[in-house]
Amino acid sequence: MEYRKIIEKLEEAALHPSKTVTNTIKSTGKSAIGCFPIYTPEEIIYAAGYVPVGMWGGTTTLQLADKYLQSFCCSIMRSNMEYGMKGAYNMLEAVILPTFCDTLKCICENWKVGVPNIPIIPIVYPQNRTLECGYVYMLDEFKRVKVEIERLSGKKIEEKDIEAAFDIYEEYRVTMREFVEIVADYPQIIKTKSRHLIIKAGQFLDKGEYTKDIKAIIDGLKVEEKQTFKGTKIIATGLMSEPVELLEIFDENQIAIVGDDLAQESRQWRTVTRDDEVDVWNKMTSRVADQRGDTFFYEYMKSRGENLIDMVKEKSADGIVVFMMKFCDPEEYDYPIYKKEVEAAGIPMLYLEIDQQITSYEQLRTRIQSFSEMLISREA
């Protein structure tokens, strides 16, 4: 398939998660397990013969979820609860949920009652992941989840299965790192909205198949001529850059994302796996221990601000855009710290407060357009 056709296919897949997941189940002949954001051990799920699919909420009318959650709850979690309760996730065999924040802990508990037909497997990631005891705990948690999944499938997961699954995921991660690099060189071909949708599609497809598609896109781009970009280049940070209507405003204003620190995107794959680990469980565990600048992992002397500044320099970006998911505690705590560092470095930064149920884009449009006008007038 021509690479532009693949792009269209993936965009379409990302825009209709429910349909895509149903198709994936059909085409792979596998059952699906839902993965709450973020860092669920997809390799284990994959090794057990399931397709792991992402659960990142979506735009929906919130009615049922109000039974459990007040209005000041993160909209991704309200949406997930709503979808679960109204049966939109009924194609899933089970869901896995990491308790990275206070809200996720509660969602797990409420899910057990509110969505009793879909079993939930919680996983706790240690915050002291660099200490020996935390490392061991992480290993134990991965192995506990493995047992839970075996219980679900009634089949034992062999060591070689998990190794094979890890390899597929490792290839996915390496490919995605290359993809976001090369996309930065072709903002005219892959616009902001498209970049996001291509990446997001991976959440709902079999990673083995998906990686092949991404490789084809990379190959397709490589033969295209690089053009000078007259618009504005930015680094995106936050959980996710949705709703997509927002990215349309970016594209209207010729703003390109040339690098990201988004939980739904690069944070998933940017940590390079240690090459001195032989055992697959240690490879997985060390990936957790090595993650830096991530809002969901405790890190003494937080390096997020520094990372953002480095990314701006490395990509010669004009500024940073913060996609602040309203009511996300961890992200909201990080902001004042990196704000100070980024401002001290003289880097312009735009703060956008977002949620999944945005009904009016007018103020956001004004902010985005003003930011772009501000950057252009500065250059002049």
Binding site: T99, C106, V113, V124, G134, M301, K326, D329, Y333
Partner: protein
């Protein structure tokens, strides 16, 4: 001073002053100061003789003294969202302004954080360490999805205790004294026991305890579990309540206890008097909350696994089954007529389980309840009119039950 004639309330006030003045003096003398979370393994700090203050206590006091808004607004100016915990906003504002007209605390040299109360403190304390450029000891206590604390969790926490001891030895440049540690453990257990026994007197009808007093004593169970003053205070308080109970005295001199309720969640510190008076006006006494059990941290001396398990067992760190059971037990033990649920904008961990706990508890016990909107220290998220209306609604339900009981 003749200590015998001191009432527990006077002793409490003396100790509060002593606590803060002592900390400020220590800092002035060049001694290191620790900032710690409210239900952390303070035994380690006490063993090392480290002067410790508790930002949660400080923020609550600032809130009750109606000075919180100044710090909150300052923190919001720094970029802190108005959606995050108001204790954190008061504290981060204080760190920047460094002065309060009402109550000052010394700046820390070490941060000591324990996540058994929420993951929010991880982010908050991580920021403190970064802003102040000082060391941090992090105790991560995984959330318990199972009813009991899992064994691999205990092992993880045990490892963290050992690591913390090493860190403290480096920080203080002295050896950790395990004999003293044993003594501190023993005393902490005794103090917690007195705290629990004292608050248990509220089971008597009428309750000799006015629950809003408990909110005041709470500050000291946070910061004095491990020292002799704390033990003395809670023993004295216990004895007074026992005395009152035996004389059949209720919570107030000016009114009788008509209804007994529990308060779910943290107090609304800036509106303490409004929330109290509205209840009292209708003869409603808040006799208990989830807090007596929160600081009933009990384990065998020198049992580090037991200590880890006890700290990890805090109700905020437990699953819905436990939470429900806990409240149902309180209703039975304290013969409650109703429950007031504080939907506290600051505390997502408590809020997002509250609706389900309320439903289950109602189903099991038929105990009437109301939810009201408020906040622990942000005065802007509370409406006296809404609170009063909700309390009246609760009153009507409780009256109906009482009436039905009278008729048999």
């Amino acid at each position: 001073m003749e200590q015998k004639i001191l009432t527990s309330k006077e002793l409490l006030n003396d100790l509060v002053d002593k606590h803060y003045e002592g900390a400020l003096r220590a800092k002035a003398e060049g001694k290191p100061v620790v900032w710690a979370t409210s239900i952390c393994p303070q035994e380690l700090l006490e063993t090392m003789d480290l002067v410790t203050v508790y930002p949660e206590n400080h923020a609550a006091a600032i809130g009750a003294k109606k000075e919180a808004l100044k710090f909150i607004e300052h923190a919001e100016g720094m970029g802190y969202s108005s959606d995050i915990c108001s204790y954190a906003r008061v504290n981060m504002g204080y760190v920047d302004l460094k002065h309060s007209d009402e109550l000052n605390i010394p700046m820390p040299d070490l941060i000591f954080c324990c996540s058994n109360i929420c993951n929010t403190v991880i982010k908050w304390y991580e920021n403190l360490a970064k802003e102040l450029n000082i060391p941090l000891i992090m105790f991560d206590m995984p959330f318990n999805h199972t009813y009991e604390v899992p064994e691999h969790s205990v092992k993880y926490m045990r490892g963290q205790i050992e690591y913390a001891i090493e860190q403290l030895e480096i920080f203080t440049n002295k050896k950790f004294d395990y004999d003293k540690f044993g003594e501190v453990m023993e005393r902490s257990n005794r103090t917690c026991e007195w705290w629990k026994k004292a608050t248990d007197w509220a089971k008597v009808i009428p309750s000799p305890l006015n629950g809003f007093d408990m909110f005041n004593y709470m500050a000291m169970i946070v910061c004095m579990r491990g020292n002799a003053d704390g033990e003395r205070l809670f023993k004295l308080w216990h004895d007074e309540l026992e005395q009152k109970a035996k004389l059949g005295k209720g919570p107030w001199n000016s009114a009788d206890e008509e209804y007994r309720v529990m308060w779910d969640g943290i107090a609304c510190w800036p509106h303490l008097s409004t929330t109290f008076k509205t209840l009292k006006k209708y003869g409603i006494n808040m006799v208990t909350s989830t807090y007596p059990e929160s600081w009933n941290v009990r384990y065998e001396k020198n049992d580090l696994d037991g200590m880890a398990r006890a700290y990890a067992s805090n109700y905020a760190n437990r699953n819905l089954d436990y939470d429900t059971e806990n409240v149902v037990k309180l209703i039975q033990d304290f013969k409650l007529d109703g429950i007031v649920y504080h939907s506290n904008r600051s505390c997502k961990l408590m809020d997002f389980r509250q609706y389900e706990v309320q439903r289950r508890v109602t189903e099991i016990t038929s105990c009437p309840s109301v939810v009201f909107d408020g906040d622990q220290t942000d005065p802007r998220s509370f409406s006296a009119a809404q609170y009063e209306t909700r309390i009246q609604a609760l009153l009507e339900m409780m009256e109906k039950n009482k009436e039905a009981k009278r008729r048999g």
